[in-house]
């Protein structure tokens, strides 16, 4: 499969101080790329239709940011043309104190509210994820499998013995791929006109046939600051920025911690799932210098690394 021969993009990227409601940094980026086999001619041309769409989307973003009063936000509106297909996207990375979420315009208000709520609770205790079952709340289990299954599939790594009750699918306009079976994402994506299109995840959707009971004592992961998959070792690292330790009826906010496990041990640690599939705010996925937003959806997953 070859990439479409014509790609064009217009992006407005703004960094806002929400406290002062001022733009600190503003970037306009536009350009097009023509692909002929393994050659790409790229230049910073402006596509008028994309410019209008991007500006209109940026106006909507600015309007939505007016309601936010704390922290910083990086708001990115893009209009792209791939072949004859035009799409508009917007993503917002909001930061309050030490916590951040990446989200999209339709979900900005509830995700920002969740961020402010999470940032209002001060961590008081340390935890050890290898001592208790971990329940991945708020759809955050999609981030775990983004790293452990999604990036492994992008690299064409051998599939593992994942539980039969679990599914992980990357969904895009180009089709769905079964990440647990090692199928690479179908979509060729790029951040900008001067970038090489790569097979990258678009929307990671976790499914489950399991309906497991919630462990009485557990760690509940609420927000993940970032993750990494090391393709040579198969090790996954996840930086958990907000989590609670639950012991019966008592709940304590734990200090940020890192989970470092091989993807094989993550597959072996899968215990079950419960509840409906929830939308995690999202992931800004960085690979080979290109940052792309990836949607994330999962039920509450339960892992146990003991």
């Amino acid at each position: 499969m070859t990439a479409p021969s014509h790609f064009a993009i217009v992006t407005r990227d703004e960094l806002w101080s929400l406290d002062r409601h001022t733009v600190l940094e503003s970037r306009l980026i536009h350009g097009s790329a023509e692909q002929h086999g393994n050659r790409i001619d790229a230049r910073d041309d402006s596509d008028d239709e994309l410019r209008r769409l991007c500006d209109a989307e940026c106006d909507r973003l600015r309007e939505a940011l007016k309601g936010l009063r704390e922290g910083r936000a990086r708001a990115v509106a893009s209009a792209t043309r791939v072949g004859g297909n035009v799409t508009t996207t917007s993503t917002i990375s909001a930061t309050v104190l030490d916590l951040s979420v990446a989200t999209t315009l339709p979900h900005l208000a509830p995700d920002y509210e969740m961020l402010v709520d999470l940032a209002s609770v001060k961590p008081t205790v340390d935890t050890d994820y290898a001592r208790l079952p971990v329940v991945w709340r708020n759809g955050s289990g999609a981030v775990l499998l983004h790293e452990a299954a999604g990036h492994a599939a992008e690299h064409g790594h051998a599939q593992l013995a994942w539980p039969r009750w679990l599914s992980a699918t990357d969904e895009s306009e180009d089709g769905a791929s079964n990440l647990l079976a090692g199928e690479a994402p179908r979509a060729l994506r790029r951040q900008s006109f001067a970038d090489v299109p790569l097979r990258r995840m678009t929307n990671v959707v976790i499914g489950s046939d399991s309906d497991s009971p919630l462990p009485d004592s557990r760690i509940e992961v609420l927000l993940v600051a970032g993750g990494r998959y090391e393709p040579l070792s198969g090790m996954v690292s996840l930086f958990v920025s907000a989590a609670d330790e639950i012991d019966g009826g008592k709940s304590s906010r734990v200090r940020p911690f890192m989970i470092l496990e091989s993807r094989a041990s993550i597959a072996a640690a899968m215990r079950g799932a419960l509840g409906p599939v929830r939308r995690y705010p999202g992931v800004i996925c960085s690979r080979e210098g290109q940052e792309l937003f990836v949607g994330s959806y999962a039920p509450d997953l339960i892992t146990d690394f003991r």
């Binding site: 001022t22 600190l24 050659r39």
Partner: protein, 278 residues
């Protein structure tokens, strides 16, 4: 008061199996509080870049990095740019290679500012002979390509017998000449601006380390390549020790000697690597 910077650029780049030719021009405007940038008309005639030079370099690299080694990532680029800040204009040309070579679970990193296939061949030939991880030798030589990557981490942390310098050469991101300057802390006189889309930051240019002792014991084991980016003063390196080759982690606590011959590498705003003895 606002500062205006313009850049007109042309690059040819091999990246991920593709050859890209990119033409762009842009303007950045900065005040004390704000930064903005946008494309502008490409009104400057820039010299052509011969794309075959990049293609030939890629083929040469692929010929020296062969099975059982694999190329994990290869970016080869050549660029020409004209910069404008206030009433100053200056041109620069750049060549860059970024390569990661994999052998088993080892990844050797090569970053060069010229199309030097011998430097890559040297690393590839050693990597393919690599054995198991060992403790770092008590005394070791660090090759210039490795020490160059270490220098940015030494700013503010250099041992007392080592002095760190910015070396004169080139123009900074605000049109000022880069002058010789001793780096005694993490305050720097010049501005680094790798792209018109990047807000300039103060940074040391053309870093160089000196030591009163320049004689290197050529019989010591030698770290010839990075196996990971430096983590502060900790280096994961590929060591060559007589006939043995192995990965090891070196913690730089003391530098006994630094050779005077240097070579420039594209780490941050540039580093002059030199053979070091720890």
């Amino acid at each position: 008061m606002s500062e205006i910077y313009r850049k007109f650029g042309r690059t040819v780049r091999y990246d991920g199996g593709m050859f890209l030719r990119v033409e762009e021009a842009g303007q950045a405007t900065e005040t004390e509080q704000t930064f903005s940038c946008q494309p502008i008309a490409r009104t400057v005639d820039l010299p052509d870049i011969e794309p075959d030079v990049v293609a030939r370099t890629v083929r040469s690299i692929e010929s020296v990095v062969s099975a059982p080694l694999t190329i994990e990532r290869l970016v080869v680029s050549e660029g020409v740019a004209e910069h404008e800040f206030n009433d100053r204009r200056w041109q620069e040309t750049t060549r860059r290679i970024h390569l990661s070579i994999v052998f088993g679970s080892l990844r050797a990193l090569v970053d060069l500012a010229e199309f030097d296939i011998d430097a890559i061949s040297f690393v590839a030939e050693a990597l393919v002979r690599a054995g198991e991880q060992r403790r770092a030798p008590a005394r070791i030589r660090i090759a210039s390509n490795v020490s160059a990557a270490l220098l940015p981490s030494l700013a503010g942390l250099a041992p007392p017998n080592v002095r760190l310098w910015q070396t004169a050469g080139g123009i900074d991101g605000k049109g000022e000449p880069v002058a010789d300057h001793e780096i005694a802390s993490t305050t720097y006189p010049n501005w680094y601006r790798p792209s018109y889309r990047t807000r300039p930051v103060r940074a040391p240019f053309n870093l160089r380390a000196t030591c009163d002792v320049n004689a290197i014991d050529e019989d010591l084991p030698r770290a010839i390549a990075l196996l990971a980016p430096p983590a502060g003063l900790s280096l994961r390196v590929l060591c060559v020790d007589a006939g043995d080759v192995y990965p090891a982690t070196v913690r730089v606590a003391r530098i006994d000697a630094i050779a005077t011959a240097t070579h420039w590498y594209p780490y941050a705003a540039g580093s002059f690597g030199a053979e070091m003895m720890l």
